[in-house]
């Protein structure tokens, strides 16, 4: 894959480039500031970009804004946002346009490199990838708890993985279950929560997250 890496700290940029190259991907460009990120995203049109939230010149959410800006101009441009902390607010902003090809991860999710590269490929393919930490926070918030108490423990797990953006097949692999078993669980979940499932992973993530957010 052709990848753009936007990260202002040399150490992390360098580490990320080496990791991606070790997995046989090609880093076509790097960026170190918000405006530069936007510029590189629009000129390079990478298969996927890894973008840090906090970047110069303001050291605020420059990277996030560059990513949102780029996706406004090129809908569906696959971007994976990396941050040292995860915020529901950012997740909602990223998912708001509903076009998919978006990911939001804690930086340490990179430590499990296989899963990280999996997620990156999923985003490149137009899917959604949410950090388990974001989802865990969502699922454990007070109001969610009340509305989700009708789900069984297994259904709870499936819902979390669904929200992370995994397909039924991937969820099955994680939970060591068959795809058809997962299918049964999802149907049951949607039935209990009153959400319709049209089989599209992105819309499914969105539906689940919207449900949880509005809970």
């Amino acid at each position: 894959m052709r990848i753009v890496v936007a990260e202002d700290l040399y150490l992390l940029r360098d580490g990320m480039v080496r990791l991606l190259e070790a997995y046989g991907h090609q880093v076509v460009a790097t960026a170190t500031t918000g405006p530069e990120t936007l510029d590189v995203l629009l000129t390079q049109r990478p298969d996927v970009a890894v973008v840090d939230v906090r970047m110069p010149p303001t050291q605020s959410d420059e990277g996030l804004r560059a990513a949102l800006d780029a996706r406004r101009r090129v809908p569906g441009l696959p971007i994976l946002i990396l941050s040292q902390h995860v915020e529901q607010l950012y997740a909602r902003e990223l998912l708001a346009d509903g076009t998919g090809g978006i990911g939001y991860f804690l930086k340490e999710s990179v430590f499990d490199a296989d899963q990280f590269v999996d997620a990156l490929e999923r985003v490149a393919g137009g899917g959604t990838a949410m950090d388990p930490a974001v989802i865990a926070k969502l699922l454990s918030s007070g109001t969610s708890n009340r509305r989700l108490e009708r789900l069984t423990e297994r259904e709870h797990d499936v819902l979390g993985l669904m929200a992370e953006g995994l397909s039924n097949q991937a969820i099955g692999q994680r939970l060591f279950l068959s795809e058809s078993a997962i299918s049964k669980h999802t149907t049951s979940i949607f039935g209990k929560l009153g959400i319709t499932d049209d089989g599209n992973n992105n819309r499914r993530v969105l539906a689940v997250l919207t449900y949880l957010n509005n809970a």
């Binding site: 700290l9 150490l11 992390l12 360098d14 580490g15 990320m16 080496r18 990791l19 070790a22 997995y23 906090r54 050291q59 040292q84 930086k107 340490e108 990179v110 430590f111 499990d112 490199a113 990280f116």
Partner: protein, 426 residues
């Protein structure tokens, strides 16, 4: 030789002090008698123009009152100026400061009291109201009324002696000549001392009243509190940023390296090994960074051993050849120790970085004024507390404890900075 010198010098210096004293007495007399002069003029006018009729007396009385009120503040300013010039005693004026005059969206001007059509009206109105409501005005008035009967009366002695001499010697009668001679003696004897009551009288009656001092103190503390809040917020943001870009980022990089190594183990063991070595170095570096950060928040040595040893350690770490002399055995309050420690650290850094000094001297001593910390260097000087700069920040930090910062740093050096923190608690 020496004896003869002092013998001739003594009368000379005495004559000089008598002459200076005479001039000063005259000045004091004039200043303190301005208000009585206005009233005398009004009375004279009344007698001369209206022949002493009781009813028209109202007009001269009103004029005299207006004249008194107008003269009060200049008289007090002059007295304060004279006392400061002659005795070095500075008496704070304690007048209320005018607030800003702002133009509102309606086009009118707001001066803190009322709306006016023009900025000139607003300012005039503000001046009048401030003058009227300022307790300092009433204090000044009281002083102007007391001054003629205290310092004015005493200061009148030498000029009165001279007048007596002139009148006395103008008459042929021997008794009058005696009075004239007496006048000369009194004038010369009293001259060096007659102006001196101006200081105690001014200090007693012109200094800000307790209420005014209290109001000033409240203003000062309000400003300090705001400063402290801002400084604290900035400090916390600095710590967050240092952690985010420093230790936290290094840990992430370390994890990334390990993930890469895991992948490379199978395909490229040599590169994996090199990466592992880098990762180990990264772990060491991140520990060092964390240590520096902790030291920047609260130096462990300061907690464990107190200001003196912490400053000694600072001197050892400094690139400058630094001597520390200490006359202080006790531990101070931790916040004061911390403020002084970071003050010394900042000054040493400045000396090395900006003034390119090679040597520095630090002395810590306890005096009646409190804890006095002197930091001197042989650098290029030119240091000053610019708004928002490091020294300005230091001054604010010390101000929280009513401490002061004195900077003596001529261009070309050397620089000498003194931090004083009053310390009754010890």
């Amino acid at each position: 030789m020496e004896r003869e010198g002092t013998r001739t010098r003594q009368p000379l210096s005495w004559a000089a002090s008598a002459a200076v004293g005479f001039v000063r007495s005259c000045v004091v007399l004039v200043v303190s008698m301005l208000v009585p002069a206005v009233w005398a003029a009004a009375a004279g006018l009344w007698m001369w123009w209206w022949g002493g009729n009781p009813w028209p007396a109202i007009a001269p009385v009103v004029w005299a009152c207006v004249g008194t009120l107008a003269l009060v503040r200049p008289i007090c300013r002059m007295t304060r100026f004279l006392v400061a010039k002659w005795t070095g005693t500075v008496i704070p004026p304690g007048y209320r400061q005018a607030g800003p005059v702002m133009r509102m969206s309606t086009g009118y001007w707001w001066n803190g009291f009322s709306y006016e059509r023009t900025s000139r009206d607003a300012r005039r109105d503000q001046r009048m109201r401030l003058w009227w409501s300022d307790p300092a005005t009433w204090r000044d008035l009281r002083f102007a009324l007391i001054a003629p009967f205290t310092m004015g009366l005493v200061a009148a002695v030498p000029p009165a002696g001279v007048v007596a001499a002139v009148v006395g010697f103008g008459h042929p009668a021997p008794s009058m000549r005696l009075i004239g001679a007496l006048g000369v003696v009194v004038a010369i004897a009293a001259a060096p001392y007659a102006w001196r009551p101006v200081r105690p009288v001014a200090v007693r009656f012109l200094r800000p009243s307790p209420a005014m001092a209290l109001a000033d103190r409240v203003d000062e503390l309000t400003a300090q509190r705001a400063d402290t809040t801002v400084a604290q917020a900035a400090e916390i943001r600095r710590i967050e940023r240092d952690l985010h870009d420093g230790a936290q980022a290094r840990m992430v990089a370390l994890g990334m390296s390990l993930a890469t190594v895991e992948k490379l183990m199978e395909t490229d063991p040599d590169r994996a090994k090199a990466l592992l070595r880098e990762a180990r170095a990264g772990a060491t570096a991140s520990l060092a960074e964390l240590r520096d950060l902790v030291r920047g928040i609260s130096p462990p040595l300061l907690t464990e051993r107190g200001l003196v040893d912490a400053v000694r350690a600072l001197a050892l770490d400094s690139p400058l050849e630094t001597a520390v002399s200490v006359d202080l055995g006790l531990r101070l309050d931790p916040p004061i120790e911390s403020a002084l420690y970071f003050g010394v650290a900042e000054l040493l850094t400045n000396a090395a970085k900006h003034a390119r000094a090679t040597r520095a001297g630090i002395s810590i001593a306890r005096t009646d004024a409190g804890i006095v910390v002197d930091v001197a260097d042989d650098g290029t000087g030119g240091a000053g507390a610019r708004a928002g700069g490091g020294l300005d920040g230091l001054r604010r930090r010390l101000a929280t404890f009513d401490g002061t910062l004195e900077i003596t740093s001529p261009a070309g050096g050397p620089t000498h900075v003194r931090m004083v923190v009053p310390c009754e608690s010890l």
